[in-house]
Amino acid sequence: MAGGNFDAPDSGGKGKDKNKVKGRGVNIDMTPMVDVIMLLLTFFMLTTTLAAPQLMKISLPKGDVKDKVKVDMGNVLFVRVSEKGNVFFAMGKSDGSETPMEKIEVKNVASKLEALFAQNNNLLLLLKFDRKMKYHTMSDIFDEISRAKIEKRYAFLKMEPTDVEKINALGG
């Protein structure tokens, strides 16, 4: 090993010849292999779908649609979303009425939810979405609900015409 790789001037022509022979023997022509691998690579690159879909789980309440569940209205938070995608929060009161609606930007929903849950940990979100609202707003809202570190309890309610009137009075 030692000194064997040096091109010593006195090693003469013989050593050089030996090196050449060795070098030739190691060379394998990889071109066909590279061709095949390239073909395979392009095939797999074109056929793959990398963006795996994400799933957002939604659970509807147990029981039939007609079943009525009694909820303490004091533990209810109404989340109304207008046609334009604006979010309105209103707290329920034990006597069945609710506090005035407050307009909130979608990106602030999570922090607002956390603040409200800090006061009352048993809140139930009643989601009322406008029928003309775009579907992506729904996934945005669920994103925000998941982002907030709260226990997820929600139910879907239908938007009533009176709700729409109130929302429109606040700018829709």
Partner: protein, 197 residues
């Protein structure tokens, strides 16, 4: 000096492909391992999914027994399952796809134009009204149970909604799902980068 130049010239004829092959091999194995093949038929209707940041890590799309509800921006709901045997039994054709148009005030796009956007749907269309749609949902589940021999088998219900679908369609769909005892379902979204954190 002259000898050295000649040597370099000779050596340059052989290009060492080993590093190239190494890199390509790595890429190849990566793509081979991550590849999930699209079944051409499962993408009967393409919609632009909404984006989301969060998803349940333990809620993954199953390989089979998936019931897909695709909502187009014009309000058509496509009902499809991944097993052709079940489709054969419920819709009467191996490649049929059910279409339900919940909004009675508008016309179904596929029924009037025969295509979605400017894309043709290559599969046999079975139009369903609300009652037929709900019956189909129940029939699909009973057929799955009889075919698989498992009396507790359930579909994984996934909703692929176009981001511009009206929520009203989703609301009607959720009502139908609730009535047919499909109380857990998932919304399919694509990943969005979270810029806030």
């Amino acid at each position: 000096m002259a000898k050295k130049v000649r040597n370099i010239k000779k050596a340059s004829i052989h290009i060492d492909m080993t590093p190239l092959v190494d890199v390509i091999m790595l890429l190849l194995t990566f793509f081979m391992l991550t590849a999930t093949f699209k079944a051409a038929e499962s993408e009967a209707v393409e919609v632009s999914l909404p984006q989301s940041i969060y998803s349940d890590p333990d809620n993954k799309m199953r390989e089979n027994d998936v019931l897909t509800l695709t909502l187009t921006d014009k309000g058509d709901v496509f009902l499809d399952v991944d097993a052709y045997k079940i489709r054969q039994k419920v819709f009467g054709d191996e490649f049929a796809i059910g279409v339900y148009h919940p909004d009675s005030t508008t016309k179904s796009e596929i029924e009037t134009k025969g295509m979605i956007g400017n894309k043709e749907v290559k599969r046999k269309i079975v139009m369903l009204n609300k009652a037929q749609f709900e019956k189909a949902l129940v029939d699909l589940k009973t057929t799955l149970r009889s075919v698989s021999g498992n009396s507790k088998a359930e579909f994984q219900v996934v909703v692929k909604g176009d981001k511009d679908t009206d929520y009203g369609i989703v609301e009607d769909l959720m009502e139908s799902l609730h009535e047919t005892q499909n109380k857990i379902f998932s919304l399919v979204t694509t990943i969005k980068q979270d810029k806030k954190e």
